[in-house]
């Protein structure tokens, strides 16, 4: 498609030489664009091919239960399937939700401050500082998490586990809490997704029409009322889209989560204060020594599921954010 556009725009070209180079350039760019699509499709197909032996042996639906026990695969010929993956999907979603619960309010606050409240001098440095958070490699976050975050979370975690008497909330926060947990992984994920959520929120808030904001202020609204009346209402779906894109980022995060989540692969943990595992973490942990029958193939099933989930979330997020910016324009 790119090639066509370039070729048709070329009719008034001055020399045949230039036309040739332009055509070549167009084709090269088209090839580059196609490569991206090809890599994506090839990755998905490759994962599916490698997952196929396990999928056909156990049946695709049999992976939807919550018990992962490779040591039992030799004993279990085909049923029950020892490679249940529901707890990994659960862990991936729950760590990401914990991250969102922390990151989204903070991101909204930071973005509102940068766009509407901060002195003009501070705007640029603040924005770039938040963006810099994204430049920190995730293994550094993991390292920091193990040696700084987990000791710091100790008192908070033990405090949270003391609410065990209350129904539901008591279950969510039941102990014992040893630091390495779904909760700790969620907290570090919150810091990691903060830049992307803040950046999108900032853009969304920036699109609020200046005239409306000034009108609100002219009517005697306080700054908070101005934000509530003129900025936040039209930003709601934008914030939602930002959160979804943050989720997409959190879903795939591997090393920092693996270092902090405690890697309980067997089943769904009770509550968020105990050790769990995510789809990326089980792959990172087990692929080097996956020597049980269908063990490696089943990890490919997890990888395929993760790719599918991440693509889905990212597509939904992009759609929402895209629609919002169109609407405003």
């Amino acid at each position: 498609m790119t090639a066509d556009v370039l070729a048709s725009a070329d009719t008034s070209g001055p020399s045949s030489d230039g036309r040739f180079i332009d055509g070549l350039f167009g084709r090269l760019m088209a090839a580059a664009a196609l490569t991206v699509i090809a890599v994506l499709v090839a990755t998905a197909v490759f994962l599916l091919i490698r997952a196929w032996p396990a999928l056909s042996h156990y049946g695709p639906l049999s992976f939807f239960h919550a018990r992962w026990a490779p040591s039992e695969s030799a004993a279990a010929s085909s049923t029950p399937n020892p490679y249940g993956i529901v707890q990994f999907i659960y862990g991936t979603v729950v760590t990401s939700l914990v991250a969102m619960a922390i990151a989204v309010p903070v991101a909204i606050g930071v973005a509102l401050y940068i766009t509407n409240l901060s002195p003009a001098v501070l705007r640029r440095p603040l924005s770039s500082l938040v963006d810099l958070l994204a430049a920190i490699p995730s293994v550094v976050y993991g390292f920091w998490g193990v040696f700084a975050l987990i000791p710091a979370l100790g008192p908070i975690g033990r405090g949270l586990t003391s609410v065990s008497g209350i129904p539901v909330i008591g279950w969510v926060f039941q102990g014992p809490f040893f630091g390495y947990s779904v909760f700790a992984a969620g907290v570090v994920l919150a810091i990691m997704v903060l830049p992307i959520v803040t950046a999108i929120c900032r853009e969304v808030f920036d699109t609020a029409p200046r005239a409306e904001k000034e009108a609100a202020l002219a009517f005697g609204a306080t700054k908070w009322e101005m934000l509530r009346l003129a900025v936040l209402p039209r930003s709601r779906s934008g914030i939602f889209g930002a959160a979804i894109l943050g989720l997409g980022r959190a879903f795939g995060e591997t090393i920092a989560v693996t270092m902090l989540i405690g890697n309980n692969v067997l089943t769904i943990p009770h509550g968020i204060m105990r050790a769990g595992s995510t789809m990326p973490s089980v792959i990172a942990n087990e692929f080097t020594e996956a020597n049980q029958p269908f063990h490696l193939d089943s990890l490919f099933v997890v990888a395929f599921g993760l790719l599918f989930l991440s693509l889905l979330v990212n597509i939904i997020g992009k759609r929402i954010v895209g629609r919002v910016s169109e609407h405003i324009a």
Binding site: P70, S71, P151, F178, A284, T288, E289
Partner: protein, 390 residues
């Protein structure tokens, strides 16, 4: 990668020298009675550390100048010492890739390396899958897996037995002041604190040795895992605990978590300065892990002809019970004369002079019985069905 391993090795060596006579100085508040002293005495013996085995198979000329190997990460530190010393003494370069025991088995099955290395013997099904005929298991060195813990106010040398460890790792003992632990450690100040179990999250030979011991000693452990065919191996369906990747992952969890217990190779426990326990052996003695007691673990075991055997729970009085060996995996029948000669030369060197080297980096040399059997294995290597040396 290699630099990091060397650093660890260096640290281990320093710790090892500072631990001379380890057993007599530690043992915690509960050190009492003749049993502890016995372990202390044998750990103090320097003779056991450098066995000075003589070389049985003379050097064969005309060998290849390079060999490739891959597998066990556990053996990597001592392998790096061996490859360096061996290239200096014989001029042969041995390239070893520490990719994990499972990888070593896969590579020797496929025939992509000259030798593999694994902390557990190959399974029958794996041996059948080998592309180039029968594979020999040559024991190279010994290691111990030790219970390590981090409990405020409790020093190194806490006493454990197999059943208690099994109950802890099955989640049946959940507090440090459980009666079973108190009974073993009268006098130790065990707190009323939950136990945080730490285990490997990746498949590992260390896990295989550890769970092999638990399976032999703890019916509770076997029952919790659903049968003795599921209660030992490189991958375990852990009922409780926090998973760490690699020995360093587990030691990291233990360092960071008050009230934790886990298992690591002795070398890592020493390098990380972790507190570790003494474990009751088959003869009923509480044994401190050190080079001498690990080597003693290989004495008096009934070895099968192919040497595929579990070394845990050795019958010797001084045997540390959670002991394992790393095997070199070699195709019995070689087809390349130069490679065959180089392999025989390398392994007959590692089994003689190499054993003294191993002790210098805190790896235990093979006991006399096992060393002789290992040399016998090397002699079984053939070249196109005939003898290797000419």
């Amino acid at each position: 990668m290699f630099c990091r391993i060397k650093t660890i090795t260096a640290t281990v060596a320093i710790v090892a020298t500072s631990l001379t006579g380890c057993g007599s100085t530690s043992g915690g508040g509960a050190a009492s009675g003749a049993q502890q002293n016995m372990a202390g005495q044998i750990c103090g013996l320097r003779g056991a550390a450098k066995p000075e085995y003589s070389r049985k198979i003379p050097k064969i000329d005309g060998g290849a100048t390079s060999l490739s190997g891959a597998g066990s990460t556990f053996v990597a530190p001592v392998m790096s010492v061996w490859t360096k010393d061996y290239s200096e003494s014989d001029g042969v370069q041995v390239a070893y890739q520490p990719i994990g025991s499972g990888g070593g088995v896969q590579q020797i099955i496929a025939g992509t390396v000259d030798f593999g290395a694994s902390d557990t013997p190959m399974k029958d099904s794996e041996l059948k899958a080998a592309k180039f005929g029968p594979i020999l298991h040559i024991p190279l060195t010994l290691g111990a897996v030790v219970p390590t813990y981090n409990v405020k106010g409790v020093q190194t040398g806490l006493k454990f037995d197999g059943d208690t460890l099994g109950k802890i790792f099955a989640g049946k003992i959940t507090k440090w002041n459980d009666p079973a632990l108190v009974a073993l450690n009268s006098g130790a100040n065990l707190p009323d604190q939950p136990i945080a179990v730490a285990h490997r999250s990746d498949g590992s030979g260390t896990t295989a040795v550890w769970t092999d011991f638990l399976t032999k000693e703890s019916p509770t452990w076997v029952q919790a895992l659903g049968g003795s065919d599921r209660s030992f191996g490189k991958d375990i369906a852990w009922p409780v605990g926090i998973g760490g990747k690699g020995n360093e992952g587990v030691s990291g969890v233990i360092n960071q978590t008050d009230g934790s217990i886990g298992y690591v190779e002795l070398a890592y426990a020493l390098a990380q300065n972790l507190s570790y326990g003494v474990v009751k052996n088959k003869a009923g003695n509480f044994i401190q892990p050190c080079v001498a007691t690990i080597t003693a673990g290989t004495q008096g075991i009934a070895y099968p002809p192919d040497l595929r055997v579990s070394l845990t729970d050795g019958p010797d009085l001084h045997a540390y019970p959670i002991t394992g060996t790393t095997y070199a995996l070699v195709n019995q029948n070689q087809t390349d004369a130069a490679k065959a000669k180089a392999l025989v030369n390398f392994f007959s060197w590692t089994l003689s002079a190499g054993q003294d080297d191993a002790a210098s980096v805190n790896y235990a040399p093979l006991g006399k019985d096992l060393q002789a059997l290992a040399v016998g294995m090397v002699q079984k290597i053939t070249l196109n069905g005939g003898p290797v040396g000419k």
